[in-house]
Amino acid sequence: MTVEKRGNTLVVEDLKVHFGGGKSLLSGSRPTVHAVDGVSFSVPAGKTFGIVGESGSGKTTTALAIMRLVNITDGRITLGDTPISALEGEDLRAARRQFQIVFQDPYSSLDPRKRAGEIVREPLDLMQIGTHDERDAAVRDLFQQVGLRPEQRALFPHQFSGGQRQRLGLARALSTRPDLIVCDEPVSALDVAIQAQILNLMARLQRELGLTYLFISHDLGVVQHICDEIAVMYLGQIVEQADRRTLFTNPRHPYTKALLAAVPMVHGNQRDRRNRVRLKGDPPSPVNLPKGCRFASRCPLAQAHCHEQSPPLTTREASHKVACFLQ
């Protein structure tokens, strides 16, 4: 397999995804959920961009919006020359071969009634890629590429282990030879010993095929291992963004610091952990958003003006962006 250089870059500009709103039949106006509220970033070809945050931070909704699996309220998404956010109907369907997704749960994301070979072949059939024989050969190659045996094409999903199913999910995503693969918590549902197998496979595929990954995860250890650049999301917005080394050696947003402090360390000291920043409570509801900084209600450093004004995401040094008045 030779390394292919691809020029495509994912660019997301001021993406907003709001749910609800409008009028409902019974209770009058419905509340609006600001799931993603003004998110911008770009990913160079062949790199891995990570998004981390707690549940409800909007990281998965961002991924689904880029996949055009939820309606976009506002903003622009482009992949190379393809304006993903502007496409509709058959144009969108045809463009989907350039961007594919691997889901979190390898159990519910594979059709239990289809054989593994058909599952991997389905995108080729739907996109009318190649002749019948070429598709057969492609599926056989894909199985080998993700570390499965070609004869396993005849098996059903329940005959595979969790890690093997995620290999199937990867093979299916790779089948249309996409530029971008969106990975939504691809190893969270797997056993610890299997996670390493899948992460190493993903890294190898990226090297061989020049893939671009958008990697969604709540696991900072995994993100640190696999991502080149990382955005931390809180309540629908990016609060800090930096390259991998900068984010972990010099985190500046109090939320990022708290996230890092919450991770149990194998080689840490039990006595140290009680002195670290602890977040109290749960994130506020994305329906009634506070006026000022969204993190202020849980922030150990918040000042009066943090509750009044919302800090913009500003560039500090090189590629390091932070949305905090105090840092």
Partner: protein, 333 residues
């Protein structure tokens, strides 16, 4: 009961399941002990027998198809294996509490959380409904739920995941059990909430002197919370000792793999990224374990003996126990 008896001791427990594929030995001579005020961690992949160990302590092994074939489980010297169901029911929930992985499916959706905490107090302590509800509210306060009186009247669906797990802990601790079994208590929660729950467990444990058995797949959680650790593989304990010795010098290749295969957060990550160490393959089916070490097919350092004879759990140099022929000094017998 002699002075040296631990609070809870599991000795050589064997649990067999009848399956269509034949007999599966899901627990194979498992021995564990935990003292008052101590946290014992049990780690391993799914299917290694962690949860089954918990169920056997609770007397909840589904029978049939399962069966406690032999062994002994003693709480304060009292034998639990073979105890009649009525007596066991009185111990469960009172002397041994349990919290489960998924708080939403373990709570009853049609009762308020206050009623669910009060229920165990009424049943086990014959408390009046009024007194039981007062205790429920006190427990909600103890697990740091704000506005406890108000929250006691809430239904599970009205609470966040972290709050539900706090309610589960309140139920489990309402009768002040001497042993608390926590089966993956934070797996479904965000890391920030997990840190809160860990703090809470540690505080409650030091206040009440409860012994905790923490079942997890996360070595980080073990490092932060536990005093002693047992690593399980294919129904057996393969390494056991204090957390410091096991984590600083793991002897069993499976333990070494569990520690190195996970990308751990580094405060100062190197610029160059290396491949993660993999444990190849998957956990074997318990119905067709061979004569030898169950981990041998996935092991990088096998010798001939590994394929033909199961290694016993023996002390290594720093006094922690390992079941590995290679770690025990190789082929000489």
């Amino acid at each position: 009961m002699s002075m040296t008896d631990p609070l809870l001791s599991v000795e050589d427990i064997v649990v067999d399941f009848q399956t269509r594929a034949g007999k599966a030995r899901v627990l194979d001579h498992v021995s564990l002990e935990v003292e008052s005020g101590e946290i014992l961690g049990i780690v391993g992949e799914s299917g290694c027998g962690k949860s089954m160990t918990a169920l056997s302590i609770m007397g909840l092994v589904p029978d049939p198809p399962g069966r406690v074939t032999s062994g002994s489980i003693r709480l304060d010297g009292v034998e639990l294996v073979g105890m009649d169901h009525e007596r066991l029911r009185r111990i469960r929930g009172k002397d041994i509490g349990m919290i489960f992985q998924e708080p939403m499916s373990s709570l009853n959706p049609v009762f308020t959380v206050g009623e669910q905490i009060a229920e165990s107090v009424r049943l086990h302590e014959n408390a009046s409904p009024r007194a039981a509800m007062d205790r429920a509210i006190a427990m909600l306060r103890a697990v740091e739920i704000p506005e406890a009186e108000l929250r006691a009247r809430a239904y599970p669906h009205q609470l966040s995941g972290g709050m539900r797990q706090r309610v589960m802990i309140a139920i489990a601790l309402a009768c002040r059990p001497r042993v608390l079994i926590a089966d993956e208590p934070t797996t479904a929660l965000d890391t920030t909430v997990q840190a809160q729950i860990f703090d809470l467990l540690q505080d409650l444990q030091s206040d009440m002197g409860t012994a905790i058995i923490l079942i997890t797949h996360d070595m980080g959680a073990i490092a932060e919370l536990a005093d002693t650790v047992a690593v399980m593989y294919a129904g057996r304990v393969v390494e056991k000792g204090t957390v410091e010795t096991v984590l600083s010098s793991p002897q069993h290749p499976y333990t070494q793999g569990l520690i190195t295969c996970v990308p751990h957060l580094e405060p100062d990550p190197p610029a160059e990224r290396s491949e993660l160490m993999e444990i190849p393959g998957v956990v074997p089916a318990l119905t067709d374990l061979g004569r030898g070490c169950a981990f041998a097919p996935r092991c990088r350092a096998t010798i001939d003996r590994c394929g033909v004879e199961k290694p016993a759990l023996l002390p290594s140099e720093d006094a922690h126990l390992t079941a590995c022929w290679v770690a025990q000094g190789g082929a000489q017998r």
